[in-house]
C-alpha cells in the first residue's frame, strides 16, 4: 500500500516526536486525568448523599428523630488523624515526583499503616453511631454516608497495599510507577477533603439542628 491509497494526499513530514519523554507527572499524565474523572464521579455521589441527608433532616422536627446522638469520640479521632495524614501524604507525593525509590518505599509503608489504623477506627465509628440503617430514614442515610466514605477509604487502602508491594518488586523503579504513586496520593487527599463535610453532617449537624 502506498501513501496515495490513503487519501490521494501526499504526505508532508513536519516534525519529529521521537525525543519526547516517556512519562510526566500531574496533569501531564493520563493517569491524573483518569483520577480526576473518578474524583468527580465519587465527589458527586457523596454530595448527592449529603443533599439527601439534609433533605430528610428538613422533614423532621427533631434530628436525629427520637434517638441517641452519635458519640463523637471515634469520629473526632478519625478526623484528627486523617487531617494529619495530609503531611506524610504530600511528602510521599513529592518524593514520587522526584522518583526517589528509597523514600517512596518508606512513605508508602507509613501511609499504608495510617490507612490500617483509620479503617480500625472506622469500625468503632460505626458502632458509636448508635443507630442501625433499618431503624429510621435517619439511620439509613447516616449509615450510608459513613459507608460511602468507608468505601473510598478501603479502596484506597487496598490500592496502597498493592502499590507498596509493587514498589518492592522489579517493576517498582520505573517512571510510570512513580506516576501511579503520586496519583494514588492525590486520591488520598480526596479521601481527606470529603471527610470534612461528612464529619460535620454526621456529628455536628445532629447537635445543631
Amino acid at each position: 500500500m502506498s501513501a496515495r491509497d490513503l487519501d490521494d494526499r501526499p504526505l508532508q513530514f513536519m516534525g519529529d516526536l521521537s525525543q519526547l519523554p516517556g512519562h510526566g507527572h500531574s496533569h501531564r499524565s493520563l493517569t491524573w486525568w483518569g483520577m480526576m474523572g473518578l474524583i468527580c464521579v465519587e465527589g458527586t455521589a457523596l454530595a448527592l448523599a449529603a443533599a439527601a441527608y439534609l433533605y430528610l433532616s428538613s422533614h423532621e422536627r427533631q434530628w436525629p428523630p427520637a434517638q441517641l446522638l452519635p458519640s463523637a469520640g471515634w469520629g473526632t479521632a478519625f478526623t484528627v488523624i486523617v487531617l494529619l495524614s495530609f503531611v506524610p501524604n504530600m511528602v510521599l507525593n513529592k518524593r514520587a515526583e522526584q522518583e526517589k525509590l528509597g523514600p517512596v518505599r518508606l512513605w508508602m509503608v507509613i501511609m499504608t499503616l495510617i490507612g490500617v489504623v483509620l479503617v480500625a477506627i472506622r469500625y468503632f465509628e460505626f458502632r458509636s453511631m448508635h443507630v442501625a440503617w433499618s431503624d429510621s430514614a435517619y439511620g439509613s442515610i447516616a449509615i450510608t454516608l459513613l459507608g460511602l466514605h468507608t468505601v473510598h477509604l478501603v479502596t484506597d487502602l487496598y490500592d496502597s497495599v498493592v502499590l507498596t508491594v509493587l514498589m518492592f518488586t522489579r517493576h517498582g523503579d520505573t517512571g510510570r510507577r512513580y506516576v501511579d504513586v503520586a496519583e494514588n496520593a492525590i486520591y488520598w487527599n480526596f479521601v481527606i477533603y470529603v471527610w470534612l463535610p461528612v464529619y460535620v453532617l454526621l456529628y455536628l449537624a445532629p447537635r445543631w439542628l
Binding site: S2, D7, P10, L11, F13, L17, L56, E60, S134, A137
Partner: protein, 636 residues
C-alpha cells in the same frame, strides 16, 4: 540520532513497509481470543453500535406491540400486566440501553479518528465497560422473557416501586440494570474526556476541535455529574427493598419525593446527554454538505457548553404536579425556557451555514432537515409544558408522550440515522444506497408524524399515558388507529434501513477514504481504518485540515514496534509525551464478570457485596499489575 533508528517511523522507510510494521504491532490475536481481548476502540465501538441497535430493535418491537394493543378500544391482545412490562421495557431500554450507549459508541469509534490519535485513552476500561453494558442489557431482557420484567415505568416512582407495592424481583432487576449501565457509561465518559483533552493531534488547539468532538466532550462531562445521581437513587431503592432501609418510607421519616428529586437530577440532564452528541453529528453533516465551515463556531461551542450547564437546573419541571413551593416552580419555568436559547442559536447557525454554502441534498442532510422540523415542534411543546398551569392540565396525558417523542426521536434518532448514512462508509468502506436512503427518510418522517402528531390532540382530549386500553365512545378510537398505521410506516422504514445496510455490506459502492470531501481527520485514513488508525500522527494547522491543504501534514518519530501514542497539552495541543499503550488483555473481561456477578448476586443477598469484593479485587489487581518489560522499555 533517531533518524537512523529503523524502529521509528519516518521518510526513510517506504510506506508499505511502515504499514506492515504497524499492522504487526497493533493487530489482535486471531479468532475468538482476539475478540475477547481486543482493546481496539473501533472493534469495541462497532460492538457497542451493533448491540445498541439490537436493543433499539427490541424496544421498538415492544412499542409496536403497544400500538397494536391501542389500535382500537377494549382490545384484548395484551393484558394489563404485560402492558406494564412493555412500556417499562420500552422506556428503560430506549433510554439506558440504546440512546446513551449509541451516542457514546459514536464517540468511542469516531473521536480518536477525529482528533488524530491511535487509541482511546484507558482502552482496558473501555473493554470492561462494554462487557458491563452487555451484562446489564441481558439481565433486563432475560428477566423479561422469564416473565419477571420490570413493570413500574422507566422512572420507577416510589411508592409504586417500593417493597410494599412491588413485591418480587421485578424492580430489583430494573434497579440493578441501572447500576450496570451507568457504571459502563461513566467508564466510557472518563476514557473519552482523557482522549479529547490529552490525545489530540499536535496543533489541534481547543479552538480547532471539530464540533462533534466538542459535543462528545460536553456530553461526557454531563455523564460524570448526572449518572452518579441515578446510581445513588436506585441503590437507595434496592436497599429499601432488600435490607430494610427507609429512604422512601414516610412512616419512618423517609420521603417519596426524594426519589423524584434524585431521579430527575439525573433524568433531565439525561435528555441532553442524548441530544448534545446529536447536535455534534448535525454540525458535521451540515458542514460537509454545505461545503463550508459551520457559521459562528465560537457561538456554537458556547451554546453546547451552556446547554450542558443549564441542563442541570431544570429537573423540577418534571415535578410540577407534586405540590412544590410556587417560587421554586417559577424558577424552573424560567430555566426551562432559557435553555431553548442556546439550542435556538445552534439551529440558526446551521441554517446560516446552509444558506451561505452550496448544499448537496444527500440522505444525511435530509435527516438533518427532518431533525430541524421535528425537533422544533418538540421544542415548542416543551416551552408550553414549562408553564406550570398548562403542565398541571397535561401531566400524564398523551400530550406529554407526543412532546418527548418529538424531542427524543427528532432530536436524537433523526440526526443519528443521518450519521449512520454519513459515517457508514468510514466504518465499512462502502456507501449506503442513496435512493433507498431517501425512501427510508420519507417513510420515517411521514410515519413518525402520523404516529405522534395526533397524540397531542389525544392528550388534550384527556387520554392518559400508560393505560393498556380505553372504552369505546370517548372519541379516541379513530386517531389511535391512525397512529398504529403510522407505527407500521416507521417499522417499514427501519426494515428498509436494515435492507440497505445488508445490501451495501454485500455489494455497496466502494467509498474510498473521503467519499463526501469532508474536512475532518477521520476522512484522512482508509475506510475502514487500519488497527493503528494513522500511519503517521497528523499535524494540525487549521480548523479544517482536509480542506486547507492538498498535502497531509504529519509528524514522525513514534515507535513502529511498540504501541505508542503522543500526549499533547490541554489547550494548545503542544506535543508533550510519548505514551506507551498496553497490549490486548483478557483481564477487563474477567473483571467485568466479577463485578457483574456481584451485582447480580446482590439482588438476592446483601452478603454478595462483601464476598463479591474478593474476586473483584483479584481481577483488578491482575489487570493493574505490570506485564513483562514492555512498559519499562517504552521509557527508553
Amino acid at each position: 540520532m533517531s533518524a537512523r533508528n529503523p524502529s521509528l517511523d519516518g521518510e526513510w522507510l517506504d510506506e508499505a513497509a511502515t504499514h506492515e510494521r504497524l499492522r504487526r504491532t497493533w493487530r489482535d490475536a486471531p479468532g475468538l481470543w482476539g475478540a475477547l481481548t481486543t482493546l481496539d476502540h473501533k472493534r469495541i465501538g462497532l460492538r457497542y453500535i451493533v448491540t445498541a441497535f439490537g436493543f433499539f430493535a427490541l424496544a421498538g418491537i415492544a412499542a409496536f406491540v403497544m400500538r397494536l394493543q391501542l389500535a382500537h378500544a377494549e382490545n384484548e391482545l395484551v393484558g394489563p400486566d404485560l402492558y406494564n412490562q412493555l412500556f417499562t421495557m420500552h422506556g428503560s431500554t430506549m433510554m439506558f440501553l440504546f440512546a446513551v450507549p449509541i451516542m457514546q459508541a459514536a464517540g468511542i469509534y469516531l473521536v480518536p479518528l477525529m482528533v488524530g490519535t491511535r487509541s482511546l485513552a484507558f482502552p482496558r476500561l473501555l473493554s470492561f465497560s462494554y462487557w458491563i453494558y452487555l451484562s446489564g442489557g441481558l439481565l433486563l431482557w432475560v428477566a423479561f422473557f422469564l416473565n419477571i420484567g420490570p413493570d413500574a415505568g422507566w422512572f420507577a416512582y416510589v411508592p409504586l416501586s417500593g417493597p410494599q407495592y412491588a413485591p418480587g424481583k421485578r424492580v430489583d432487576i430494573w434497579a440493578q440494570m441501572i447500576t450496570y449501565t451507568e457504571l459502563s457509561s461513566i467508564a466510557v465518559a472518563v476514557s473519552t474526556i482523557a482522549t479529547i483533552l490529552k490525545q489530540r493531534a499536535p496543533g489541534m488547539a481547543l479552538n480547532r476541535v471539530p464540533l462533534f468532538v466538542w459535543a462528545i466532550l460536553v456530553m461526557s462531562f454531563m455523564v460524570l455529574f448526572a449518572m452518579p445521581s441515578v446510581m445513588i437513587t436506585s441503590t437507595f431503592l434496592l436497599m429499601d427493598r432488600l435490607v430494610g432501609t427507609h429512604f422512601y418510607n414516610p412512616a419512618e421519616g423517609g420521603d417519596a419525593l426524594l426519589w423524584q428529586h434524585l431521579f430527575w437530577f439525573f433524568g433531565h440532564p439525561e435528555v441532553y446527554i442524548i441530544f448534545i452528541p446529536a447536535l455534534g453529528m448535525v454540525s458535521s453533516i451540515v458542514a460537509t454538505f454545505a461545503r463550508r465551515p459551520v457559521f459562528a463556531y465560537p457561538l456554537m461551542v458556547l451554546s453546547l457548553l451552556a446547554t450542558g450547564l443549564f441542563a442541570f437546573g431544570l429537573w423540577v419541571h418534571h415535578m410540577f404536579a407534586t405540590g412544590l413551593p410556587r417560587l421554586g416552580n417559577s424558577f424552573y419555568t424560567a430555566a426551562s425556557m432559557v435553555i431553548s436559547i442556546p439550542t435556538g442559536i445552534q439551529i440558526f447557525g446551521w441554517i446560516a451555514t446552509l444558506w451561505l454554502g452550496r448544499p448537496r441534498f444527500t440522505t444525511p442532510l435530509l435527516f438533518v432537515g427532518g431533525f430541524i422540523v421535528v425537533f422544533v415542534i418538540g421544542g415548542l411543546t416543551g416551552v408550553m409544558l414549562a408553564s406550570v398551569p398548562l403542565d398541571l392540565q397535561l401531566h400524564d396525558t398523551y400530550f406529554v408522550v407526543a412532546h418527548f417523542h418529538y424531542v427524543l426521536i427528532g432530536g436524537a434518532v433523526f440526526p443519528l440515522l443521518g450519521a449512520v448514512y454519513y459515517w457508514f462508509p468510514k466504518l465499512t468502506g462502502r456507501l449506503l444506497d442513496e435512493r433507498l436512503g431517501k425512501v427510508n427518510f420519507w417513510l420515517l418522517f411521514i410515519g413518525f408524524n402520523v404516529t405522534f402528531l395526533p397524540m397531542h390532540y389525544l392528550g388534550l382530549a384527556g387520554m392518559p399515558r400508560r393505560v393498556y386500553t380505553y372504552s369505546a365512545g370517548l372519541g379516541w378510537d379513530g386517531l389511535n388507529l391512525l397512529e398504529t398505521g403510522g407505527a407500521v410506516l416507521i417499522a417499514l422504514s427501519m426494515l428498509l434501513l436494515a435492507i440497505n445496510i445488508v445490501r451495501s455490506l454485500r455489494s455497496g459502492a466502494a467509498a474510498g477514504a473521503n467519499p463526501w470531501d469532508a474536512d475532518t481527520l477521520e476522512w484522512a485514513t482508509p475506510s475502514p481504518p487500519p488497527s493503528f488508525n494513522f500511519a503517521h500522527i497528523p499535524l494540525v494547522t487549521g480548523s479544517h485540515p482536509l480542506w486547507e491543504s492538498e498535502r497531509l501534514r504529519v509528524m514522525r518519530g513514534l515507535q513502529l514496534d511498540k504501541r505508542e501514542l503522543v500526549l499533547t497539552s490541554v489547550l494548545d495541543a503542544q506535543p508533550d509525551l510519548r505514551e506507551p499503550l498496553v497490549p490486548p488483555t483478557i483481564w477487563p473481561l474477567l473483571a467485568a464478570l466479577a463485578v457483574g456477578g456481584m451485582f447480580l448476586a446482590s439482588i438476592f443477598t446483601p452478603w454478595a457485596v462483601i464476598v463479591g469484593a474478593v474476586p473483584i479485587a483479584i481481577t483488578l489487581t491482575a489487570w493493574f499489575w505490570p506485564k513483562g518489560k514492555a512498559e519499562e522499555e517504552a521509557e527508553q
